[in-house]
Amino acid sequence: MKKALLLLVLLLFVVISSRAQDTVVAKGVDDQKAEKLYNEGIKFYDNKEYSSALAKFNEAITLKPEFEKAYYNRGSVKYELKDYSGAIADFDKSIEENASNDKAFFSRGQAKYALGNKTAALEDYTKAIAANAYYPQAYYYRGGIYFENAEYQKAINDFTKAINLKSDYAYAYNDRGSAKKMLENYKGALEDYVTAAKLDTRLAFVFNNIGSVKKKMEDYKGALEDYTTALKIDPDYYIAFNNRGTVKIELEDYAGAIEDFNQTIKLKSDYAYAYNNRGNAKYKLKDYSGALADYNQSIKLNANYGYAYLNRGITKEMLRDAKGACEDWKKAATLGVGNAETYSKSCQ
C-alpha cells in the first residue's frame, strides 16, 4: 500500500513539473496588478497551498480576462483540488487563447482521464503531440490508454516514442514491457523490465513484473528471486507476496507458499485471490478440509469468482462430496471457466 502511495506522489511530481508555467515578468507601463497576483498564485501553488493559489488566479483573471497563462495555472490548481470539470473549463479557455498550447491539451487530457473519459483524454494527448512532437509524457499517457484498450501494439509504439525522447524514462520501459507481455513476447518484456529496474532501482512493482514474466517463461526460481527483491524494497507489497506464493506452488514448496499467502492476507484481508491460492497450496498438501475453508472464504469475498468454484469443486471431489463438486463446477461453468464445463459433463 505504501508503495502505491509513493507511486502516486512520484506521478504527481512528474505531472506538476510539466504543468507549472513560468512566472511572468511584471514590466513597465501599467501597474501590472494581474501579473503580480499571478506570480503570487504560483508561489502558493509551489507550496501546495492550492486554495490560496486559486484565490490569486481568480483575482488575476478578474482583472485581466484574456490572461491565458492564468487560466492554465488555475486549471492546474483545480486539477489538484480534484475539480476536474472546473479544470477542463480553464484549459478550454487557455486553448481558446492559444491554440498551440501543448501543455494545456496534455493537462486537459489528464483531467478528462480523471473523469473516466478515456476517449476524450486520448484525443487531447494526440492534440498535445500535434502541437509538440517532442512531448514524451503525452506519448507515455496515450500509450497507457491504448494499453487499457488492449491495443498493445499501438501502446508499444507510443512507449517507444516516449523512450526515444526521454532515454531514462523508467515508467515507459516498464509499461512497454507490460504491453509486450500481453502480446506474449515474454523475452522482449523481460528486457524492458530489466532496463526499467536499472534506471530506477527503487521501483518494487518493476521487480514484481520481472518476476511475473519469468513465471510466464516457467523460470520459477528466477521469479522467486525477483519477487523477493520487490518485497525487500517494499515489505508491504501484498501483490508480490501473492505472486511469490504462487511460484512456490509451482516449485512444490507448498508450506512456503502458504506462508506467503498468510502474509498477503495479513496485508490485505479482503483479497479473494490469496485465499483461493492458499486453498490450492493446501490442496496440493492433501489438506482438503483446510483448502475447502479457504475457497469458502474466497467465494464469500467474491461470489462471482469462477476459479474459486472450480477449485472448490475439485477439492470436494477429493472429499468424496461428488454432488457438491458438481454444483461448484456448474456454477464455475456459468462464470466462464472452461474446464469446469468439461468436468461437469461427467456429473450424474
Binding site: 500481453m182 468424496r320 474446464n339
Partner: protein, 704 residues
C-alpha cells in the same frame, strides 16, 4: 552431536544383527540340541511333515507353512528352513511375509539355494520395493553359470523390465477411490471376478464360501467349490448377495466370466472338457439351465474368459488353443444371419502376446476392450490393460465396418496399462467397468478386507484436475490499480465413453402389465438390423447400449401389439448419455394409432428418404402377416408456414407411404391416407423439440 548419535545407533544395530546371524547355520541335528531332546523330536517331525507338503507344491505350500513355522519356533537359524518358509509364503496369499524369511536365509547362508536371491527379488517386487527387487535380480543373474544364464536370462530380464515399469507406474498413480463393497458382498472367503451390467443395477461374482452348491471343497486346494452369486442395486445400495443355486450353479466350480449389458445373459466358466464357456439366460424370474457354447468356441483346450459386445452378437473369449501367439489369447466371433457363431478370429498381435492374456471385458461402447495380460507393459503377473478399436477414417465400401471390433476397416490401439494402484505387481485379473466409465469393479486381496480376495468398487477420477491460482501485477506504472493476470487454463482431457444407454420398462398401454417384447435395432443409413434384444417377461425391463455414430431405428415388437417405433440419431462424437424411456405397447385394435418415428422425408418434399426403408418394410410385414388389417396413414406437421401448405405437404407425404406399400404388394383397398397439417399436435409448437415431435407420420387401425 546428532551425527555422532546416529553413528553410534548404527553401530549398535549392526552389532546386534551381526550377533544374531554371526551364529552360523544351525542344522536340525540332535547333537546341536543336547538339552532339548523332546522338543527337537517334535520339531523334526513338523519339519518332515512340512517337507512332504512342500514337495507337492501348489496349494500345499500354504499347508506346509503350519508345520514349518512350528519347526522355526524351535530353531530360527536354519537357512534352508527360512528359505522354505519364504518360498511357501511367496506361494500363499501373504506373499510379502516371505521377505523376512528369505532375507534371513541369505544372511545365515548366502549359498542356501541358487534361486534365493531370485525369490527375494520377486518378494520385493510384490511389495512394491522395485529398487531392491532389481538389485536382487541382478545378483541372481550374475551368479548364474553361462548355461543357466542362457536358459533364464529372458525370464530375469522380464522381471527387471516389470520392476522398471513398476517404478514408472507407481510414480504416476491412477486417480481412483477404492472402496470395499462391504459385507453384503464380501465375506471371510474369497470373492472375485465381479461383473457389472451396463447401468450398474446388477452385480455377478464368484465366491468360494460355505453355502456353495453341494457344500464340497476342491481337493486340490481345500477350499469350497466356486459358485456364482448375484446382488442387485436397490436405490443406491447393494443388497445381500444371494446364491441362485441350480441350475446356474453346480456341485463343482461355476465361475462368472461375462455378462450382457442388460444383465440378462450370463457367461459361465466350468472346468469340463479342459475348461469351457456356458451361457445362461434370465427368463422372467428364472435363470435357464446353462448351455455350452458351440464347438467353434469351446475346444478341447482351456476356454476361460468371455465377454459380449453390446450387440449381443459379438463374443470375445480367451483360449489357449494352438495357433495363437502364445499362452492364452483373446479371440472374437460374430453371429451370422442364421444366428450361428462364425469361426473365431484371433485378435492379433497388438492385443495378444507370447504370454497369457486373460479376463476379457468389452465395454458397452463396443470398442474399448479391457483384458489382463502377463505380457505388454505389466508391473508383474497379470496387469489389466485397455485397448480401443478405432475405425479407420475411410471405410472401403462393402467392407464390414468395425462396430463391436470387427477385423476389417480398423485397428486396436496399443494396449495401455490402466495403472497403479488398480494394477499391482501381483495378478490383477477380471475387471469390469460401468457404461458411464465412472465405476470399475475388481477383486483384490489387499489388507483391510474381510478375508481372501474381496470385491472393490473403483471410483475412477480420470486425469488430475489442475487447481488454478490467480495473480495480479502493477502492469502500468501510471495506474495504481493492479491488473489481473490472464489465466490460460491447462487443457484437461476427460474422455467420455461414446455411447447412449437406453433403458426402461415395456408394458401394455391399458393394463400396464409388463411385456416380453423384442427390441430390434436398425442402422437406418445401412438398412441393416444390428441387433435384437428382449425385455424381461416378469418386469418388462429392457436395456440397450447404443454406441455413438449410428442413426438408430428402434422397433419394439410384441405378439398381438402394434410395433412401437423410436429413432435415435447419435453422432459419432457424442459422449455418455443415459436415457430412460418407458414404452407402452398398443394392442392391434381399431382406433389405436402409433407414430412411425423412422420414416424420413426430404426437406419440404414428399420424397421418402432411403433411411425409411426398414420402417416401411416393418409396416409391410405387419400388413402381410395380418391380411384383414386396414389402416390409415396420416401426415402431420408443425405450425411453421400456412395451414393450406402444411395440409397439402402432410397429405402428399402420407400418400407417398401408401404408394410404397401398394408397390410392395399391399392391396389398395386396405389403405387410406390423410393429411392433417398442424391440426393434431402431440407436443408444443413453441419449442424445437416439440415441433420435431409434431412433424410425424402415423398409422391408425381402421379395421381388424
Amino acid at each position: 552431536m546428532r551425527s555422532f548419535i546416529s553413528c553410534f545407533t548404527f553401530l549398535l544395530i549392526t552389532g546386534i544383527t551381526t550377533n544374531l546371524f554371526s551364529q552360523t547355520n544351525v542344522e536340525f541335528n540332535k547333537k546341536n540340541f543336547p538339552d532339548k531332546k523332546d522338543q527337537y523330536k517334535d520339531a523334526l517331525k513338523e519339519l518332515e511333515q512340512g517337507d512332504e507338503l512342500y514337495i507337492l507344491g501348489g496349494g500345499n505350500y500354504t499347508l506346509a507353512l503350519d508345520h514349518y513355522l512350528k519347526a522355526q519356533d524351535f530353531n530360527p537359524v536354519n537357512a534352508l528352513l527360512n528359505y522354505k518358509i519364504g518360498k511357501c509364503y511367496l506361494n500363499s496369499y501373504d506373499k510379502v511375509k516371505s521377505i523376512t524369511y528369505l532375507e534371513n536365509a541369505i544372511k545365515i547362508d548366502p549359498k542356501v539355494s541358487i534361486d534365493a536371491h531370485y525369490l527375494l527379488g520377486q518378494a520385493y517386487q510384490l511389495n512394491i520395493e522395485f529398487d531392491k527387487a532389481i538389485a536382487e535380480y541382478k545378483i541372481f543373474k550374475n551368479s548364474l553359470i553361462p548355461k543357466d544364464l542362457a536358459k533364464y536370462s529372458k525370464e530375469i530380464d522380464k522381471k527387471l523390465t516389470e520392476s522398471n515399469t513398476g517404478i514408472e507406474l507407481v510414480k504416476k498413480p491412477t486417480r481412483v477411490f477404492i472402496d470395499n463393497m462391504g459385507t453384503n458382498i464380501n465375506t471371510i472367503y474369497p470373492e472375485y471376478s465381479p461383473i457389472i451390467n451396463a447401468d450398474e443395477s446388477v452385480l455377478f461374482f464368484t465366491s468360494r464360501r460355505e453355502n456353495t452348491t453341494g457344500g464340497e471343497k476342491d481337493p486340490t486346494d481345500f477350499k469350497y467349490y466356486e459358485d456364482i452369486y448375484i446382488s442387485y442395486n436397490l436405490g443406491g445400495t447393494w443388497n445381500s448377495a444371494s446364491n441362485p443355486g441350480k441350475p446356474m450353479n453346480t456341485d463343482i466350480h461355476d465361475a462368472t466370466v461375462g455378462l450382457s449389458p442388460d444383465g440378462q445373459t450370463l457367461l459361465i466358466y466350468r472346468g469340463d472338457n479342459g475348461g469351457d464357456i456356458y451361457e445362461c439366460k434370465l427368463k422372467g424370474k428364472e435363470w435357464s439351465k446353462p448351455e455350452k457354447l458351440p464347438k467353434s468356441i469351446n475346444t478341447d483346450y482351456h476356454e476361460s474368459g468371455a465377454s459380449f459386445g453390446p450387440d449381443g452378437r459379438t463374443l470375445y473369449f480367451v483360449s489357449d488353443k494352438p495357433g495363437g501367439y502364445g499362452g492364452h489369447d483373446i479371440y472374437m466371433t460374430k453371429k451370422n444371419a442364421k444366428d450361428k457363431w462364425t469361426e473365431p478370429v484371433n485378435l492379433g498381435p497388438v492385443i495378444n502376446t507370447e504370454y497369457d492374456e486373460e479376463g476379457v471385458f468389452m465395454h458397452p461402447d463396443g470398442k474399448t476392450l479391457y483384458f489382463s495380460s502377463k505380457g505388454h507393459k505389466t508391473m508383474g503377473g497379470y496387469d489389466i490393460f485397455k485397448s480401443v478399436y478405432e475405425n479407420l477414417p475411410t471405410l472401403p465400401t462393402g467392407q464390414a465396418g468395425g462396430q463391436a471390433g470387427g477385423q476389417a476397416g480398423g485397428k486396436w490401439s496399443e494396449p495401455e496399462n490402466i495403472g497403479y494402484p488398480i494394477n499391482t505387481p501381483d495378478d490383477d485379473v477380471f475387471f469390469s467397468i460401468s457404461a458411464s466409465g465412472l465405476h470399475g469393479y475388481y477383486s483384490s486381496a489387499m489388507a483391510g478386507g474381510f478375508g481372501g480376495q474381496d470385491i472393490y468398487l473403483l471410483t475412477l477420477l480420470g486425469p488430475e484436475k489442475p487447481v488454478i491460482s490467480n495473480n495480479e501485477d502493477n502492469l502500468l506504472a501510471s495506474l495504481t490499480k493492479p491488473v489481473s493476470e490472464t489465466v490460460i487454463e491447462p487443457t484437461v482431457e476427460i474422455k467420455s465413453n461414446q455411447l447412449t444407454l437406453l433403458k426402461g420398462t415395456i408394458v401394455d398401454d391399458i393394463t400396464s402389465v409388463p411385456l416380453m417384447a423384442t427390441i430390434e435395432l436398425t442402422d437406418n443409413s445401412k438398412n441393416e438390423i444390428i441387433a435384437s434384444f428382449e425385455s424381461n417377461s416378469a418386469t418388462g425391463k429392457y436395456l440397450v447400449s447404443l454406441p455413438s455414430g449410428v442413426n438408430y431405428g428402434i422397433a419394439v415388437k410384441a405378439e398381438g401389439y402394434l410395433f412401437h417405433s423410436e429413432n435415435f440419431d447419435i453422432p459419432a462424437s457424442t459422449g455418455f448419455n443415459e436415457i430412460t424411456k418407458d414404452i407402452r405397447m398398443k394392442k392391434i385394435e381399431v382406433g389405436n394409432k402409433i407414430v412411425l418415428n423412422n420414416i424420413f422425408f426430404d426437406f419440404d418434399k414428399a420424397t421418402l428418404r432411403p433411411e425409411s426403408a426398414a420402417e416401411l418394410d416393418r409396416l409391410t410385414k405387419l400388413l402381410t402377416d395380418m391380411p384383414s388389417l386396414k389402416i390409415e396413414i396420416s401426415g402431420h406437421t408443425d405450425n411453421v408456414g400456412s395451414a393450406a401448405y402444411n395440409k397439402t405437404l402432410s397429405e402428399s407425404r402420407a400418400k407417398s407411404v401408401v404408394d410404397y406399400l401398394v408397390k410392395n404388394g399391399i392391396d389398395k383397398s386396405r389403405l387410406t391416407y390423410a393429411g392433417y397439417g398442424f391440426d393434431q399436435p402431440i407436443a408444443s409448437n413453441s419449442t424445437d423439440e416439440g415441433r420435431q415431435q409434431n412433424r410425424r407420420t402415423e398409422f391408425k387401425v381402421t379395421s381388424k
